[in-house]
């Protein structure tokens, strides 16, 4: 197990560095300057600013300089939000996105799995068909269609929840629900198909034949392989949901990491963008690792291979 973890961690470092270098390069070669204002910048000032922020020299030099800074734990200064380091900005905004994301993730699994199990138990009957359609409905409606409509109805139509902002509990309700709902449908469908497929498998028939009770059959024999597809989906889902949805943060005016990312991209704020991408990338790799690890625990066939 330990060798597996170390091997995976070692092999992800080059991936992270490549992604980071590519991102840095892309933002740097995009037209427009992070120092651009309405007035033309005179070359001396520009050269001074570039020198100060470590953006002088050729692109490879800049990338290598940035890379070595990152390896020393320095993500650089924001070029747009002057006087704040990227680490400060991330430390301030990431927890908000993480909180919102973990609520939404819990909601997605907490609603989706029971829905799927309920439908699987009524396979090919009316409730099953209905639930399938409802799941398809929720997964087809993107968050940025859902969110404005939700605000329209539940903030301005019936003033139940505040339409925007951050800090109080009611302000969390709409954004987390809007973020979770599309994934509820996916989770329900995965659970349903996983359970239906497993209950038809040979080893379940064998277990039933040797006289295992129905309860043990479902909980001990069927559940483990049935959640495999869900686990494979939940890993990347957690990464994307935890880093926050750009649109949700935009609509509900939540000062999370997504908002800083969008403003960074618009302002060619190269250190801020690369810093956020680093976080995204690390989270994604981390959850992929967790997924693989969970899969190995749940599925003896995969454990035997590695």
């Amino acid at each position: 197990m330990l060798t597996f973890l170390t091997r995976r961690l070692m092999s992800s470092i080059p991936v992270v560095l490549t992604v980071l270098a590519l991102c840095f390069l892309l933002v740097r070669i995009a037209p427009g300057s992070p120092f651009a204002t309405e007035r033309a910048l005179d070359p001396k000032t520009k050269a001074y600013l570039e020198e100060k922020y470590g953006l002088s020299g050729s692109l490879p030099q800049q990338i290598i300089r940035y890379g070595s800074n990152v390896l020393h734990g320095d993500l650089g200064d924001s070029l747009k939000f002057r006087g704040r380091t990227v680490v400060e900005i991330i430390a301030q905004s990431l927890p908000r996105s993480l909180l919102l994301g973990s609520i939404a993730f819990t909601l997605a699994l907490g609603l989706g799995i029971p829905m799927g199990a309920w439908a699987a138990a009524r396979h090919n009957k009316t409730p099953d068909h209905w639930l399938n359609s409802i799941a398809l409905l929720t997964l087809s409606i993107p968050t940025f269609v859902l969110a404005p409509v939700a605000v329209l109805f539940f903030s301005f139509g019936i003033p139940l929840f505040p339409p925007a902002g951050w800090g109080t509990l009611p302000q969390l309700v709409l954004p987390s629900l809007c973020l979770a709902l599309p994934f509820v449908g996916v989770c329900a469908r995965l659970t349903r198909s996983g359970l239906i497929e497993t209950t038809g498998a040979d080893f379940i028939r064998t277990a039933r034949a040797k006289g295992v009770t129905e309860k043990t059959l479902i909980l001990i024999h069927a559940l483990r392989p049935a959640v495999l597809p869900l686990v494979a989906y939940a890993g990347p889902l957690a990464a994307s949901i935890l880093t926050g949805s750009l649109v949700i943060e935009e609509i509900f005016a939540i000062p999370g990491i997504g908002q800083f990312f969008v403003s960074g991209v618009m302002n060619r704020d190269v250190f801020l963008v690369s810093g956020v991408v680093l976080i995204y990338c690390v989270l994604l790799l981390f959850f992929n690792l967790v997924t693989d690890w969970l899969t190995a625990i749940l599925d003896p066939r995969i454990r035997a291979q590695s």
């Binding site: 991102c23 269609v145 409509v149 963008v273 990338c281």
Partner: protein, 280 residues
Amino acid sequence: MKTRLILFFLLTVLVASIAGPWLSPYDLSDLSNLRLDSPSKTHWFGTDLHGRDLLTRLLYGGRISLLVGFVGATVSLFVGVTYGLVAGYLGGRIDNAMMRLVDILYALPRIVLVIVLISLFDLKLKALLDHTWFASLAPHARLLLLFMGLGLVEWLTLARIVRAQVLSIKERPFVLSARLIGQTTPTILFRQILPQVLPTVLTYLTLALPAVILEESFLSFLGLGVQAPLASWGTLLADGTALLNPIQSPWWCVLFPALVLATTLLLLNFLGDQLRQSRK
């Protein structure tokens, strides 16, 4: 729902978007003094902040959104299928290197890629188009790049799916015999293997189409995609959302774009679902 019914509705949306703007008495950017007028006999879906007819704008927006979907999905189809075929068939080191590239592109945020693509090539493409007989397209260079860009970020999943299929297909007897009689690699790839993966690819198309429409709406929503005076469903929804405030909320500016967008995406997803089930 029956597949025919879904196709009928989708066709209605398509025809309405293509023919609607001609039938409407208003123009995309006809301004009037009736600002934020609620739905009435003269303006069925109401008017927006500048007094423009919302229904007309939605129909025009449909043209853009659907066009983006088709072009983007087609681009992703060509790139993804070719990439997956080559990687899967050649295998070994080439396959490894090609799939690592896919992994890396997966980890890069898509909006960075699209923005860089648009801003890097916007003026170049405009200049290039000016000298050809496509000169009339030059003002829309940005839009063309958006189409391409969305297609080019959407192909990754398809490449993985196709590659996985090719891995198993290439060991089958008919491919081995094709190689034995001396067919060249491109012939084997496109004449022997491609027809085998085509059903999967076409099913995927029904998923890629809504995905691209969604991506465009999302970019436009953030103010990065389609620019005024043009409109897409995404920009209309974004405009409507910006108008919401506690004093007055013009519900029609949010609800109608949201309904149109959600219905179209839902229909496309239903279609994809039906196709996948019928293949099982």
